[in-house]
Amino acid sequence: MVPVRRGLERTEAGCGLRGQQVASPDKVDPIHQFAINKIVDLNIGGFDVSFTNSSLFMVVTVVLTSAFLYFATSSRAVVPSRMQSVAEMSYEFIANMLRDAAGKQGMRFFPLVFSLFMFVLVANLLGMFPYFFTVTSHIIVTFCLAMIVILTVIGYGLYKHGLHFFNLFVPSGVPAILLPLVVAIEVISFLSRPISLSVRLFANMLAGHITLKVFSGFVVSLSAFGIGGMAGAVLPLGMAVALTGLEFLVSFLQAYVFAVLTCMYLNDAIHPGH
């Protein structure tokens, strides 16, 4: 998780301006929840590495996940307790996913995929608490996660297969004249993977939280208009409740999609010749 935090904090220097624009308390500002605030001001070697609310929630996510898995598996009962069976289920879930997508050899990447899945899932779910910061709603965080995946794919592919790895970009059965064009397109398509991986997670979380905030804001502003407004506020209130359910679904689904795509990309690194 170290590269993630470092990458994040470097850009936080740029985002610092936005964090200082404090919304007036009486107005509902749907963007305000994504503002980054410094908790401990730190400056090392010219880089702004302050400990921010984003860093805090990353630490909370990691600690929560580790503590949960540690305590859930500490008893190691043959008949699992509830906690233990949740931990075992999450293990089985990721292990099966990885085995299906990348085969037996893919299991060496299990720690990576499991950590990514648990981090994204817990960060998404933590973001569902009111007043909590959603770590994955910042593109730099999701982009760093995606870069970890892609750099692992490229690194392992080159280490394992050498230059043969680049056969990934050369589809078989293409006429020689078209080959340069097709290879260029395939390379761009490959490079767009980390972008689409990160944009998908980030956009889902951002859009979901903004929508939730906007509908909740309607409830507040409508109920300020007296009885008629309160009656009208029932509609956005119902919408907000429904959206909360949808957001929980999206939280899980995006973590799942992230893990599935990671498995598929790792499969390319393990078997580039398909």
Binding site: V170, I188, S189, V199, R200, L253
Partner: protein
Amino acid sequence: MLFARLDGAEGPNYVARDLERTGKQPAGRGMEVRMAVNGEPDETGKTGPYGQTKADPRDDDLDRRRRNLEASLATRQPVRQEREEGAGGATGYGQAMKLSSEFIAGVGVGAGLGWMIDRFAGSSPWGLIVFLLLGFVAGVLNVLRSVGKVAEFGQGSNRGSSRGPDQRR
């Protein structure tokens, strides 16, 4: 004889059409059996029992094969649906998010590459033009690939999809 041959060749379609033409309800095989037992000539001009004894094993065979086919189709179908659902979300919202991010990423990376090439090689604006177009193509390719219409990375279209998207999960 003719009945048996045509049935064997044409499969279920023939039977259904045949029953429709004779104005009987398509009540399945039981109808034909009763017809044959009564000894009335069916439309092929043959009386029942002779043709029936010939037709029966083939029908059984056909039935068995049809059932096998249905079973294998059924094992294939839900797998694909489950994958679509899992990857795209129960709502179309997830699917839209997925496809648009694939497309935007393709165009974005193409434009970025072109811009960087222009910057370092001083070939402005040709790098941006060419790579933006290539990026557009790559975006379309990404979208088609993510809905499983194009072969995955590293496999040509003529090599089949032994690990294609619909068999991956």
